[in-house]
Symmetry: C2
Subunit: 311 residues, 2 copies
């Protein structure tokens, strides 16, 4: 993938997404000792950066593929993003969800025009059900992150951030399946001026941290983290990009995540989900190393259940 | 007061405040049927528009007055705003607070450099204590809203909004003591193009609604509203401006306030306090009248206790 792939992607999806604002906070700058620029993907359509990758992936399909629809298995933001971007583009979206998914998530998918196909709550059932829909409907399977078109789409957030602030020395992003940070690292490589990309990852699901050490994909035996958007492991397409272009991953514990989340809520007056607080938590944990640096932080999303907050 | 008073005020305070962003929401536009522009004073320094009026009022003092400090009685946003603006300007701030004020509010005033003087929790005690500080310290009393310099300061939010969006046909603002809506109505009168200003007020503290009907200041016997920033009655300086320049006041009940608050939290991903949701609640209540209009809404502040949310 090259620089032109990224700029082409940005141009292709521009009319379907928001160019999100970059906010700053005098107080969080004081707390961190650095000069922070928050790219607010929590203000993105549907409330998360996933709109970028989903839109781009659909737009790459042929007219015949589009006419038969798309399918994914997800109970998170990608399910909603694929539903809404498909709806915007006049494409049918089939969303395979485990039967025990929260009603609020099912409702959101329906609101955005997605058709839900329920399956038993195991990974094997999800995959088999998605395969069945591909066969029966001729729908194209789109993976939430392990897909080059999705990665390029997610990278446009950092591309916009670097257009607004070309002299960032670091960009911090969260690491789940790796789509966002892979795209971010490509944008920093091609468009930054010696801009280093650092990932933030919960200790509880630190497969990416371990994978960078071992040189091979790792799994998470358990996923006990409040950062529910970061539970998936890296994929075989996101991992090599991360190996090549991400400088390091800093791990944080659950208390550090909630403290950073609350700091952003209280001081910036914006709503972010726990996953979204992980990069700031990582920065604050090792803030001595980043004094006076000019740092971008990707705030990935703002979809939280207001009736069930961690504070 | 004239147009030049407002532009002078804006220039005077510019380097001490944030020029806050104006956000839009595709979904809330759909819900309302109008084209809404939210002026985000919840992103203002200290989290509320009150920084504008407090800063302006202090800047109008003589050097001798500044050297002796300022005093107010408040347990809300104005106490914090006066503390922080005084600190920014190297001026001492004495804040008279009732002894039963929540610790979190006392801590906030201290954090911003204000000196708290506690008094018994009656209005008479607050006034007497403030009088005593004026006598003992030579400090200048600044009223939270019934002060022309404060009113002009608060009006700069709407002035900025109209600079960004000159063709608004309406601006909605909340009504408490009237400083914000009085300033807003002056800005709309001098800088809008036939821009009508409408107030939102909780039924529970509807003294302004009644005052516009009776032609005389009214009182609130009780103040049982979640919109704790709107409990104070109009003052004799804010009322005549409101009589002249505010078109009408729409009253809303507590459920309508919380519904509007939740809509902004969930869909705009920003944190606003209950008082701040009142103008949107008022608009939604009578939305049929405002279809397809281009409407500004002043989001006044974002200081909420995250441990004690109404949902």
């Amino acid at each position: 993938m090259n620089a032109k792939n990224l700029t082409d992607t940005a141009q292709t999806i521009a009319s379907y997404i928001h160019r999100t604002p970059v906010l700053t906070s005098r107080l969080i700058n004081e707390v961190s000792g650095a000069d922070l620029y928050f790219k607010c993907e929590n203000f993105q359509r549907m409330g998360a950066f996933k709109m970028r990758g989903a839109t781009h992936a659909i737009l790459q399909l042929s007219e015949e593929q589009k006419s038969k629809g798309v399918v994914t298995h997800s109970s998170g933001n990608f399910a909603q993003a694929l539903s809404l971007s498909a709806q915007s583009l006049g494409v049918k979206a089939y969303i395979v969800m485990p039967s025990n998914a929260p009603q609020v998530k099912k409702d959101a998918v329906k609101d955005y025009g997605g058709e839900i196909i329920e399956c038993p709550p195991t990974h094997k059932d999800r995959e088999e059900t998605a395969n069945r829909i591909q066969t029966e409907k001729g729908a194209t399977f789109l993976h939430p992150y392990n897909d080059h078109n999705v990665i390029l789409g997610q990278g446009t957030a950092a591309l916009e951030l670097l257009e607004d602030h070309p002299d960032l020395t670091y960009i911090f992003a969260p690491v789940g399946g790796g789509g966002l940070i892979a795209g971010t690292s490509l944008a920093a490589h091609f468009f930054g001026k010696n801009c280093t990309v650092i990932g933030g990852e919960p200790f509880e699901v630190d497969d990416a941290y371990r994978a960078l050490q071992s040189g091979t994909l790792e799994i998470n035996e358990t996923t006990n983290t409040s950062a529910d958007g970061l539970k998936m492991p890296l994929g075989d397409l996101t991992f090599p990009i991360i190996q090549q272009y991400v400088s390091e991953i800093i791990r944080v514990d659950e208390e550090e995540i909630i403290t950073a989340m609350r700091l952003i809520w209280e001081r910036m007056k914006i709503i972010i989900e726990p996953s979204c607080a992980v990069p700031l938590a990582a920065l604050l944990k090792e803030k001595e190393r980043f004094q006076n640096e000019k740092i971008g932080i990707i705030l990935s999303g703002g979809n939280v259940d207001l009736s069930n907050l961690p504070f």
